[in-house]
Amino acid sequence: MRSLRHKLVRDTWHNRGQVLSIAAVVATAIMTVLSMRGTYESLQHARDSFYQESSFPHVWARLERAPESIRSRIEAIDGVQAVDTRVRFMANLRLPDRIGSVTGLFSSVDPEVHALGQLVLRSGRLPGTRERDRVVINEKFSEANGLEEGDTFDGIINGQMRHLMVVGVAISPEYMYPLAPGSIFPDHETFGLIWMGREVLAAESDMEGAFNEVALQLRGGAREAAVIDALDRILKPYGGQGGYGRSEQISHQFLEGELAQNRNTGTLIPAVFLAVVAFLLNMVLRRLVDTQRQEIAVLKAFGYTNATVGWFYLRFALLAVFMGTVVGVVVGTWLGHVMVDLYKEYFVFPDLSYRFGVDLVAIAVVISILSAAVGALGGVRAATSLPPAEAMRPKAPARFRPGIFERMGFERWLSSTARMVLRNIERQPVKSFLSAMGVAFSVAILVLGMFMFDAIEYMMDLQFNQVQREDISLVFERPLPESVQTEIEHHPSVTEAEIFRSVPVRLIHGHLEKEAGIIGRRLGDDLQRIVDEDGREIRLPSEGMVLSRFLADELGLDGPGMVWAEVLEGSRPVRTVAVVDIVDDFLGASAYMELGALHRLAGGTRSVNGANVKVFPGTRDAVMDEMATLPSIAGVSSPRKMYEIFREQMDEGFLLGVFFLVFFSSIIALAVIYNGARIALSERGRELASLRVLGFSRQEVAVLLFSEQGLITFVAIPIGWLLGYWMSWAMVNAFVTESYRIPFLVDTGTFVFSAAATILAAVLSSLVVRRRLNRYDLISVLKTRD
């Protein structure tokens, strides 16, 4: 077999384009396994061990105030393993050098008690339970504001300014994604988690011997719903707001959504790549063996077995798999590290490091080799199904029949060359179908990836250019009369001001209830508007209420109707309100009313508690600074500024993301189309040479050769759109949390871009094959028999 081995080396060199293109797909498959699946496993592992070590609770409930004495009743609930009570409230902070206002979520800690959801200290220590004005802050807040051990800042607790000193920096499993209530993405500069000794915190907030949040850990096998029911019954007299499990815990939800997304893409994308690898290796090896059927017949005549001969050709595939694996492991591991590092920016883990399962790489390699082996053996078996003597003779012309198009009566519209193309596609339906699927997946991956960007882009655009259009948003320290509007408008930098009132209520519909805030605005107000997911504005009614779809769903409302509203402030009236409209929005869970109507509902004085302001260009930061120092103003924030920060991050991420997407998907398209064209050339070189002799130009012959791949690409693109559309839809449904849904709409540009990128890849592959076609020596082809 030595001379045959030389031949193999020569053939490999001759087919280096194919070896390389397959190696690239193998490499990408392994890269996606290592990066996407690896990221998923790393996150999953880090989360599980953090949850484990910190005794992450299973159930939480908030309430107004309950004495510690009811603790034993909670402990007695069947299925409860451990109970942790807390004191918790929001307060404003004053930080040196910080524009606008900063809020802190204060929570109690007691180093002497085994808590649930324990903090992990990054530096310093926990404050003692009676240690005044000593706090631990969360790591992201510390980093964003340059606050370290020994630094001080002010907090306004219960109306009193306190001078607080940082004694430690920590992370909490309950805030792996530290998000201020009502926000959609974390802003660590303006939102911090502050932990203080339990007893001092209780003393400062009239919570001595009491708590307003409880967390439970359940025994294995306990029924969560039953425990929550029992807990709700106990807490009801104490203003219990309803218990909830992990699936409704914000940090867990976000992390879970991210994990689900990684799990889905980390399974789907590598599976697609492996399928393409399997298909290509099978196809290319079958063809390689087919071109050498005469050599194989000779070997068989000498008595070699199919397996021996198959193994011989398989080495060609092993080279591609080996090269691909090496590159894939190196680049994939690097990419995995990059992705995991990226996650560290968003999620806070005590110990998140990149890890990957060798088993997955092994699976990828085994699948590649198996499919190559099937192709090689299939080819060898086909080549040797004839007796050796017959196989040494040239192959009879392939059998063809009129294609389906012609039988459908399109015949007379087709030129002979068009018929050649169609019949060649139809003669190998499985191969054509798989090629089309490969190209379709390349399109689909682009659609899916671009969709994620489109969706976020769209959501942010809607939120910040349609819904919240103010430069600055003010929250008052105390309710103020409506006349405050004129006062704000008189500020020299302010061009527009609109006041609003926000009233906390419990909405009740039948046996369902949900807490929410009703926002009251004036009818003509324009800085903030109610806009649905399609960008349509919903007019505020002069009577009645507009509800977010999410709230309506919680209350079991699917159209206009009456609900009870229990006002949770002032004289706490309970009244019926008409829900006149439901808005399909995807951020938050809000209720809107006309200001006057809200005053009538809530009773009390006609006061407002905030304003939205537009200022002259360039004056925003100065105005924010100035407002933050006013004692009547509790909070100053800027949606516009948030949007600008977001845009910056998005644009960077977008470029990188698009680069990888285009790269990954192009590799599939390139490899499928290149190998398809290459094999077509080797199968039909003789046909093409005949056409040249008959007077067809190089151009015409090239068009004929590539129309087959072109047609496959053409058919594959809409299939890819559909696939991508469906995959995006699946992704949206995997990611619904209380505070947001991903809008499902795929931009036309995404379809155009995905098609264009794939067509470009197809054209590039064709150009490479075209070079080979141009070098074809027509006479020598025609002199030989096939």
Partner: protein, 236 residues
């Protein structure tokens, strides 16, 4: 009667550079082909027959020398001009039929008629070679002789001035070979197409108007053949 040239070749030399060895496939060959004649090119294997025909047909370029097609000099370096020349003026028939396996007999002919200026109808061309009843058969459903006749029909359908045939019966047995030669003869007499047939088989030579012998890349003899032998009397 003045005879018009189809081809006039002067001083044709073709050299193949094979590393150390140089093969001289043609050495200073002068060659003429006239309108309407049936010429047989005879010679041992390797004597340069195919090389000469390929150069005349615009498939290959000579190392030296000039070819005139009628009164036009062939520019063998201009790929587009050669393509155009093959498309409209010459027909080829090879030993291996080189039909397109995915097209029926009729479609194989149509392939050419679709791109030429004043072609026959495909069924007309197939009728000429006696295949009127095989129009919708694919190559795999035809015998070797039938495939070769389809190739001839395909070559003549564009009404070329000249048909170049390189061992058209080389792969066929006697009886089918005769049928193929008869088809060529019919093309020559009915359409007045000039034909050059290559063979290394001296028995076939009798059917030609003129017999040119080649040996070692040169013309060894060039004789008219006043008594064309009927094809039925040819045997090998």
């Amino acid at each position: 009667m003045e005879r018009h040239h189809i081809f006039r070749a002067r001083g044709l030399t073709k050299m193949y550079d094979m590393g150390e060895v140089r093969v001289e496939a043609l050495r200073n060959v002068d060659f003429d082909l006239y309108e309407g004649e049936l010429l047989v090119l005879l010679g041992a294997s390797g004597s340069g027959k195919s090389t000469l025909l390929n150069i005349l047909g615009g498939l290959d370029a000579p190392t030296e020398g000039t070819v005139w097609y009628r009164d036009r000099e062939l520019d063998t370096t201009d790929e587009d001009a050669l393509t155009d020349y093959r498309r409209h003026h010459v027909g080829f028939v090879f030993q291996f039929y080189n039909l397109i396996p995915s097209l029926t007999a009729r479609e194989n002919v149509a392939l050419v008629t679709e791109i030429s200026d004043d072609p026959m109808r495909p069924d007309e061309a197939l009728d000429l070679v006696g295949l009127a009843n095989r129009l919708d058969h694919f190559p795999a459903q035809l015998s070797g002789g039938e495939q070769q006749r389809v190739a001839i029909a395909r070559a003549v359908a564009k009404r070329p001035q000249v048909l170049l045939c390189d061992e058209p019966t080389g792969a066929l047995d006697l009886e089918t070979g005769r049928i193929v030669l008869r088809a060529l003869e019919r093309v020559n007499t009915e359409l007045k197409t000039a034909i050059a047939v290559i063979t290394h088989n001296a028995a076939i030579a009798g059917m030609g108007d003129r017999i040119v012998r080649m040996s070692s890349g040169q013309i060894a003899s060039d004789e008219p053949n006043p008594d064309r032998v009927p094809i039925n009397n040819i045997s090998w």
